[in-house]
């Protein structure tokens, strides 16, 4: 009940978080990975101590492979980012990094993506995003196809979509922050994370809305179609769904956190994004979507 009572506070929290996220995205921007823009990533580990990167950059200048970026990794390693390399350039780069076998750089990971492949991946990502969004909107429309009073079904749908945007924007804002400070890159996994968040968080909202609809139907039958107190119905429905909602997202968040802290390096940011998405997805179904419903109903009454 307290959620409905203090709905303005919770709605403002969401509004502030969304604003901050958008500012973070605009201000920091995203560091687009080689998946999408093409390029090469070479990860090496040195046998002995890793050499100075200034020296290496100077030597690499002679190779004619454009500008390179060095990122220290682990204790003895570097990640070298450059434009996409063909096999000869790749071999040459490795040789230079090893300083002609003075201090052998062992390659642990090499990834070179041509610009055409990058463009293709970008198109695939965009198509997937569009398709998943369309499918989810269809799913919402289907879930709310039965008209219910006092609020028409398309408003349920619109609010569910607003909640979804909230769930996607906030993790993206967090990612922009991570991108700026820790070098997280916008790659295919980022897109997958966003799409998975869409799928996971919409269901939570729908289950709660379903409860509200069920309760308002029961209430209407009890009071023989007289005016019903929508506010208290929403409050009761939230009370009923509260524990369930928290518990179900809790289990998913627990496994996601174990992925963040113990899982493979390559899926760390992915799991972190999903954790944020899951958290804000649950928050939005309880503290954003339902209060918004009450707000819409109050607005309708005034008219």
């Amino acid at each position: 009940m307290f959620i409905v009572k203090y709905k303005k506070i919770f709605l403002s929290i969401s509004a502030v978080l969304i604003t901050l996220s958008i500012i973070s995205m605009l201000y920091f921007g995203f560091d687009v990975g080689i998946d999408f823009k093409g390029g090469a990533l070479t990860e090496v580990v040195y046998e002995n101590e890793r050499p100075d990167k200034e020296n290496l950059i100077l030597k690499i200048k002679d190779l004619n492979i454009g500008s390179v970026l060095f990122q220290p990794t682990g204790e003895k390693g570097y990640i070298v980012k450059s434009r996409d390399l063909n096999e000869d350039e790749h071999a040459l780069l490795l040789q230079t990094l090893s300083g002609n076998d003075e201090n052998v750089a062992k390659e642990v990971n090499f990834n070179s993506i041509g610009p055409s492949v990058g463009a293709e991946l970008t198109r695939k990502a965009i198509i997937s995003v569009v398709l998943v969004s369309l499918a989810i909107i269809c799913f919402i429309a289907f879930a709310f196809r039965k008209v219910s009073k006092p609020i028409s079904s398309w408003k349920y749908g619109l609010i569910a979509i607003a909640a979804l945007l909230h769930d996607v924007i906030i993790p993206s804002g967090i990612f922009a922050l991570l991108s700026h400070f820790f070098g997280a890159e916008l790659d295919t996994l980022f897109v997958v994370a966003i799409l998975t968040i869409l799928g996971l968080s919409v269901s939570d909202t729908i289950v709660i809305f379903d409860r509200i609809r069920e309760n308002s139907k029961n209430e209407k039958e009890k009071h023989e179609n007289k005016e019903i107190d929508f506010k208290s119905i929403v409050g009761n429905s939230l009370d009923q769904s509260f524990a369930r909602s928290i518990a179900t997202s809790m289990t998913v968040i627990l496994v996601l956190l174990s992925l963040v802290f113990f899982g493979p390096e390559s899926t760390k940011y992915f799991a972190l994004m999903l954790t944020a998405g899951m958290f804000f997805g649950t928050y939005s179904s309880l503290f954003l979507a339902s209060p918004l419903l009450v707000l819409v109903e109050e607005h309708q009454k005034k008219k």
Partner: protein
């Protein structure tokens, strides 16, 4: 009551069998793996390149010179040529796939080559880069030293390669090969048509080798050794032999595309060192185990007795999913492992929905038996709805994703599907078995959850 006990026992025995399968078919878990039967041996987890280490190459095929209706055939032939080439080098379980152009995948026809265990890209690229060769060889003149080996049974086996010597005739001069059926014997035969140069060469070869064998070599391995019957001046040759129609068809295709049917160029490469793959695998396994332990802890603390049942059905869920991964088989990648771990969290979701409903029914004043059965019935629609959207996402990702995304979508999708099954069947059987406990304060407490004591509100 007896029925339920038998059902529960059946499920337990079944899961025991699944556990045995998962364990026995995994070399890392099973010390006696060497002595296992081939059924188990052939079903270890299949690890993707990012876990096993290896190279991933993407080639773009130049199809500008090929008529549109031939593109599909040419790409399949290209795949066969490359696959054969890789097999010669003894790479274990290479994966060669054609990615056709289209609205989603882009304008390029691509060939994707995965080489597990090959971490030297240069070698891998060289391996594929060489144009496959179709050669015609003739029998070596008598008196040439023959190489021979003695096999296990003590029989002398002539080394075929030393019996033949190369000629100038190669696949370069082959115009086309077609599949025909002998009008008398109805046997499949292969008809070859050489171009002008080839016709001259072939006429000369056949003239000099009547009654002898001509060997047709593909990529350095003998494909067929027909016997020459007469001189053939018109550049047409017929290979008859004891092929099945399928073999003959294969052979025709190989001959038609003895050389790379279309020029290819390398557009992207990825190599993952074995050590990086190993550490990713162990980190994935560790995250999975810790995630499982955390869920188990949460379930016991919050849901008590039903929580215990939840852990049991979650364990069975994990076993079934792992067995499915082995049977299909699903190629596991880091993203795939993440998908599986997330599906573990979602699997518990269904249990939580059921337990919460049971708690509500208890509060509403029902006894335990009724609470369990109505709780299940009421939770089903929520379970279905809450998994549906995830399934939509997984399906779309699987259709349109790259191999990395496909791995994630597949494991997540399988996990979600199995989880609905495990929650609804397993948890129900076990819980309704337990619900025949004596009805008292303690049992009501055990069936309740969180801070609630199970009293009627």
């Amino acid at each position: 009551m007896w029925k339920k006990i038998i059902l529960a026992l059946t499920i337990l025995i079944f899961s025991g069998a699944v556990a045995l399968f998962v364990f026995k078919s995994e070399p890392k878990l099973n010390k006696n793996f060497e002595t296992e039967s081939s059924f188990f041996k052939n079903r270890p987890f299949r690890l993707g390149l990012d876990l096993s280490g290896g190279s991933h190459l993407t080639y773009k095929a130049d199809i500008s010179l090929i008529s549109p209706d031939q593109v599909g055939d040419s790409m399949n032939a290209l795949r066969d040529v490359i696959e054969r080439r890789i097999n010669i080098f003894g790479v274990s379980e290479p994966v060669v796939q054609v990615q056709h152009s289209g609205f989603v995948s882009g304008a390029d026809e691509q060939l994707i080559v995965d080489l597990p265990g090959v971490t030297d890209v240069k070698k891998a690229v060289d391996m594929i880069g060489k144009t496959p060769l179709l050669e015609f060889k003739i029998q070596a003149p008598e008196g040439t030293p023959q190489k021979a080996t003695v096999d296990e049974n003590g029989q002398v086996v002539l080394n075929l390669d030393s019996q033949f010597v190369s000629t100038d005739l190669t696949g370069r001069y082959l115009k086309r090969a077609t599949l025909e059926f002998d009008s008398n014997t109805r046997e499949p035969v292969i008809s070859l048509q050489f171009d002008d140069t080839g016709t001259k060469l072939f006429a000369q070869i056949t003239k000099e080798n009547i009654g002898k064998m001509v060997a047709i070599y593909l990529d350095g391995a003998p494909l067929s050794t027909p016997v020459v019957r007469e001189e053939i001046p018109n550049g047409q040759a017929v290979i008859s032999g004891s092929f099945t129609p399928v073999e003959a068809k294969e052979l025709v295709r190989s001959l038609n595309y003895g050389a790379l049917p279309v020029p290819i160029s390398l557009v992207s490469t990825q190599t993952i060192g074995a050590s990086l793959g190993d550490s990713a695998t162990s980190a994935g396994v560790k995250a999975g185990i810790i995630g499982f332990a955390l869920i188990a802890l949460f379930l016991i603390l919050w849901y008590r007795l039903p929580g215990l049942v939840g852990i049991l059905s979650l364990s069975i869920f994990v076993l079934i999913v792992l067995a499915i991964f082995k049977l299909i088989p699903v190629t596991l990648t880091t993203a795939g492992i993440a998908g599986f771990i997330i599906s573990m969290g979602i699997a518990v979701d269904a249990n939580v929905l059921i337990f919460e409903r049971i708690k509500e029914e208890l509060h509403a004043g029902r006894n335990i038996i009724d609470a369990v059965s109505t709780g299940f019935a009421r939770a089903w629609t929520s379970i279905r709805d809450s998994n549906f959207s995830t399934l939509i996402t997984a399906t779309i990702l699987f259709w349109f994703g790259t191999s990395l995304i496909k791995g994630f979508a597949l494991t997540l999708g399988i996990g979600v599907l199995v989880s609905m099954l495990s929650a609804v069947i397993m948890s129900k059987v076990f819980l309704s078995l337990l619900s025949f406990m004596k009805e008292n304060k303690f049992s009501r407490f055990m069936f309740s959850s969180g801070l609630s004591s199970g009293k009627i509100k």
